[in-house]
């Protein structure tokens, strides 16, 4: 750690001298091409949230469809506001409290960036909103692990606290120019679009929350089937489309690196989906639609940290490996018997870890040579793997500990788990007073 921190301090200085204008440059001309693509990406990432709502909503039982959809939609409300008030500042401000998170008074209510144009040629408003969409979808992913049995009120408090205490610090460490994981090693921990920040943190937190809450009533003896697979497939499709904003938009430009990320994303999703249904066909005899959707997600999750640095063949291999390992993780879950209802950990946690670690074997040679130059001589795949493992480990431990702490304290004020009556009646009736299909008549 000592050696690394010395080195990273030096790199920090280097980095600052090179890019100090990145986040507050005035007087830079707007690059309309880049801005147009970033606006599109911002919308695409937002589209993933209703996509996730449909995906999760279709997978639960009829009585919980609206409550589950609301888990995603409420995040669009709560986190959007929090992001403007403190989130952007905590994520992309300068280090405070020893680098735990960032802070910049200008970013409070975004009041200081009204006319700010970033050196990438896009208005800072666009960048802040683009990043805000990531902050929205991340806590919504956790809902999949605790579906069908979580109190709506407690969930609202939970995602607000989680976003402030877990997401913002992690985002700061990995993506802010002075974040410690951004500057670790030769060229930082590679997390192009959110493998550690989004998927590993959400997956691990989901696992902790699921373990804390315990299983749904009747699980695993009672068969719990999806209420509407059509919604699931629509949702998975929207997620795939939206992921182009997520990954290709994360280049914060409209050019070569955007195209590279876009191609890696497409092939990883396809490879993941095909792999998953092949495994199913051999293992269970039938290729399911849900399997195809799961494979799409596993591939996309795994390529998320890697999209900017791997070539298409790397994307394909990551997609294949992610599906194999996530499939095994879900089999293991069934054996262990814990209730990660919609496999938030099995897909996002495991897939994210697979991608963040294994991407080092497919990194573009040009990236590696730049890293070697930055390290002052040589930089091997194994050096980078160490950095990746460190970043993953930090994300896993931090997310797990903080999530446990948040739920433990929150549970003292607002009971986190639904009562048995609420669970039997369903989230829709208990918390929203509505029905997903037909307001008055169950038929």
């Amino acid at each position: 750690m000592k050696i690394i921190s010395k080195k990273s301090l030096f790199l920090l200085v280097l980095f600052f001298s090179a890019t100090s204008g990145l986040y507050a440059a005035d007087g830079v001309a707007i690059d309309s091409g880049a801005t147009a693509w970033m606006l599109t990406s911002t919308a695409l990432v937002l589209l993933m949230v209703p996509g996730l709502a449909l995906f999760y909503g279709g997978l639960v039982r009829t009585k919980n469809v609206l409550g589950t959809i609301m888990h995603s939609f409420i995040a669009m409300g709560i986190i959007s506001l929090l992001w403007v008030i403190v989130g952007y500042s905590m994520s992309f401000g300068s280090n405070v409290l020893g680098g735990w998170f960032g802070w910049n008074p200008d970013y409070f209510f975004l009041k200081g960036i009204d006319t700010s144009i970033m050196s990438a040629g896009i208005p800072e408003y666009v960048f802040s909103m683009f990043q805000g969409k990531f902050a929205i979808i991340t806590p919504a992913l956790i809902a999949g692990a605790i579906a069908e049995r979580v109190s709506f009120k407690a969930y609202c408090f939970f995602i607000a606290l989680w976003s402030v205490l877990v997401y913002n610090p992690l985002c700061h460490w990995v993506w802010a120019s002075d974040g410690f994981l951004f500057n670790i090693g030769a060229k930082g921990a590679i997390d192009f679009a959110g493998g550690t920040v989004v998927h590993i943190s959400a997956g691990v937190s989901g696992l902790i929350a699921a373990l804390y809450l315990g299983a749904r009533r009747g699980y695993p003896y009672q068969v719990i089937r999806p209420n509407n697979m059509v919604l699931v497939m629509l949702g998975a499709g929207l997620l795939w489309v939206g992921w182009f904003g997520f990954n290709a938009g994360s280049s914060i430009s409209s050019g070569l690196s955007t195209a590279q990320a876009l191609v890696a994303t497409q092939v990883a999703a396809a490879a993941g989906a095909i792999t998953w249904i092949l495994i199913e066909a051999f293992h269970q005899g039938k290729a399911t639609a849900l399997g195809f959707a799961s494979g799409i997600l596993a591939g996309l999750v795994a390529v998320t940290p890697a999209a900017g640095v791997v070539q298409p063949y790397g994307g394909v291999i990551l997609g294949v490996l992610a599906s194999i390992i996530c499939y095994m993780a879900i089999q293991l879950k069934n054996k262990l018997g814990y209730d990660d209802s919609l496999d938030a950990f099995g897909i996002h946690g495991v897939g994210g870890i697979v991608g963040a670690l294994l991407l080092v074997f497919f990194v573009r040679p040009s990236w590696m040579s730049e890293a070697a130059t930055a390290a002052g001589g040589s930089w091997s795949v194994w050096n980078q793997l160490g950095i990746q493992a460190l970043a993953v480990g930090i994300a896993v431990v931090y997310a797990a500990v903080m999530t446990f702490g948040i739920i433990y304290l929150l549970n003292k004020f607002v009971p986190f788990k639904s009562t048995e009556e609420e669970e039997m009646a369903g989230l829709d009736k208990s918390y929203h007073g509505e029905r997903g299909y037909g307001m008055l008549n169950a038929n």
Partner: protein
């Protein structure tokens, strides 16, 4: 042979099913129905109090031989009641009707053994 038809609250379905399975009564038919009863529900929707005209319920149909009638009825009574042992309006009803014949399609066998 008797046909036992129980109209119960939707949310009690899991409990009733579990209790029936516990009592070794495993052959049941369940459907979603709606209707009028003594129960009058007022729901708040978009700030307005509305009284739904048809209340959704679940109907369970069980064909049993005479010696199973009592245990089936007792099990449903216990599991379908809400608000403790005194129950509450809207818990539902049980109808018992004589069953003239029962035929298993696979074998064509008739009567009590086909149930």
């Amino acid at each position: 042979m008797k046909l036992i038809t129980a109209i119960i609250r939707e949310r009690q379905l899991d409990k009733v099913r579990e209790a029936l399975i516990e009592a070794d009564i495993k052959r049941i038919t369940v459907s979603r129905v709606s209707g009028h009863g003594q129960q009058r529900v007022e729901e708040m929707y978009r700030g307005q109090i509305i009284v739904p005209d048809l209340i959704p319920k679940v109907k369970i149909e069980i064909a049993v031989n005479e010696e199973f009638v009592k245990i089936t009825v007792d099990t449903i009574l216990l599991a379908a009641r809400t608000n403790g042992p005194e129950g509450s309006v809207g818990d539902g009803k049980i109808f018992i009707t004589p069953l003239e014949e029962c035929i298993r399609i696979r074998t064509g066998e008739r009567g009590g053994s086909a149930i």
